[in-house]
């Protein structure tokens, strides 16, 4: 996929639009990623979710299971899709700069 233009700086994305190098993530990058996911603006709720994902990942080295995510953020799944139409994996994890979820499709 085309690289991500963050205020003129080009950050490499993989084919699926995830960051090639998750170390390059920052809040501005998140905003730019959000646009690729049809999210026009990152509200507090978006950040609540993003921060939870990043904290969890930092702690355990993996993305949380959906049930945990819902329980601990207080958002139900419907809400999460409202925030990120691509869903928790393709949408939220991408914007949060997490690694691309693998496995089960």
């Amino acid at each position: 996929m085309a690289d991500l233009n963050v205020n003129g700086v080009f950050i490499p994305l993989d084919e699926d639009g995830f960051l090639e190098d998750s170390d390059l993530w920052n809040e501005e990058v998140a905003l730019a990623l959000a646009l690729t996911e049809d999210v026009e603006e990152l509200t507090e709720e978006h950040w609540h979710l993003i921060n939870y994902l990043r904290d969890y990942y930092a702690k355990f080295g993996v993305a949380p299971m959906i049930r945990k995510l819902c329980k601990e953020t207080g958002f139900n799944l419907k809400k999460i899709y409202e925030l990120f139409p691509g869903g928790p994996a393709k949408g939220a994890c991408k914007v949060a700069g997490l690694m691309k979820p693998t496995g089960c499709v």
Binding site: D14, K100, T102, G103
Partner: protein
């Protein structure tokens, strides 16, 4: 704009009038000839289904072709079976033969009913998947060509259900087939540290290995494999692009037999490995087609009428299966995984 969650089309709109009228009223069926089912309703109505073999991987031309035939012979209605055959649904008995003639002309085989070989349930293989140990469509074509006579006739001892899965994920659900062809890897995944470091949740990767062969390698932000513990299942590759498992020289197929899912007579059973490896020899996989034909022929020669592969083998005993087929037995065929115990012969009785 899309409508979310509308669900699949309503089947009620897809069934022909004769079915609507006789829904749940069928009282018996007959198989007037191979590939043709005649269902009789309590209303007296008769429905003819003509079953047609399909390669499953098909072009839109093929689909439109089916539509044309359906329009011409059965008011535009057809269905597919759980084994990917096509079924034309005719309310008019007189159209059966003309339809068959039209099908034959187009090279579409009619059959798959009763004591026949039906279509091979199979998977993507090299066409579209990322983890195959063999191709799917190619072998299926080769085997179906080779055993073609058994699709259009009903001269086998019983149904013969063949499944193919191109890797151990077994999307072809070959684990309960009369005869199964399963793509197998035979070498330890090659670790690509960079891909792992960049694109993999290490804890999930480590946890994915059923034998605990994978250890974290924190220095490289990657992992290592204890080679001896790896049985090449490929589950780690599913979790991570960095565990490259495809190996053109060593991938191939295993043959399993004796699975079954219906509850008729004996209970459902798993397919069991009888040949641990045959090489990938495209385009026609002669080792595979030969082995399959040989097993099928020994079954035909020795089974009693009505005996499916599993019933035949369980009656004569697996030890005699190996004698009759002359397939070499090896320790590779002896289970050494979680449920191995139940496979060991805990009895002093056996045949030679």
């Amino acid at each position: 704009m899309s409508i979310l969650d509308q669900g699949p089309p309503d089947y009620k709109k897809m069934i022909p009038p004769i079915i609507k009228d006789n829904y749940g009223k069928w009282i018996y069926h007959e198989i007037p000839k191979p590939g043709v089912l005649k269902h009789v309703s309590e209303t007296g109505d008769e429905l003819f289904s003509v079953r047609v073999g399909s390669p499953r991987l098909i072009s839109l031309d093929f689909v439109r072709n089916l539509c044309d035939l359906a329009d011409a012979y059965c008011d535009g209605y057809l269905r597919f079976t759980s084994r990917n055959n096509v079924e034309f649904l005719l309310s008019d008995a007189s159209k059966v033969e003309p339809l068959i003639a039209a099908l034959t002309e187009k090279g579409l085989p009619v059959g798959g009913t009763g004591a026949s070989l039906s279509n091979i349930v199979h998977t993507q293989g090299w066409i579209h998947c990322h983890t195959p140990a063999t191709d799917a469509s190619g072998i299926v074509k080769a085997v179906m060509d080779d055993l073609f006579e058994y699709f259009g006739s009903m001269k086998l001892p019983a149904k013969l259900r063949v499944g193919l899965a191109c890797c151990l994920n077994m999307c072809g659900a070959a684990h309960c087939s009369d005869l199964a062809i399963v793509g197998v890897h035979r070498t330890v995944p090659r670790i690509n540290d960079e891909k792992i470091a960049k694109g993999t949740e290490i804890p999930s990767l480590v946890a994915s290995c059923p034998t605990g062969a994978i250890r974290p390698n924190p220095k490289a932000k990657s992992v290592t494999i204890v080679d001896d513990k790896c049985m090449y299942c490929g589950n780690c590759y599913t979790m991570s692009p960095g565990m490259e498992i495809m190996d053109g020289k060593n991938d191939g197929c295993a043959i399993l037999v004796g699975g079954k899912v219906s509850n008729a007579r004996n209970v459902p059973s798993f397919s069991r490995m009888v040949i641990p490896f045959l090489p990938n020899n495209p385009p026609r996989w002669p080792e595979v087609t030969d082995a399959v034909r040989m097993i099928v022929e020994v079954w035909i020669a020795h089974a009693r009428k009505g005996e499916r592969m599993s019933e035949w083998i369980e009656r004569i005993g697996w030890e005699r299966f190996f004698t009759l087929t002359d397939i070499p037995f090896s320790d590779k065929l002896i289970d050494d995984y979680i449920f191995s115990r139940e496979t060991f012969r805990t009895s002093a009785t056996f045949k030679y």
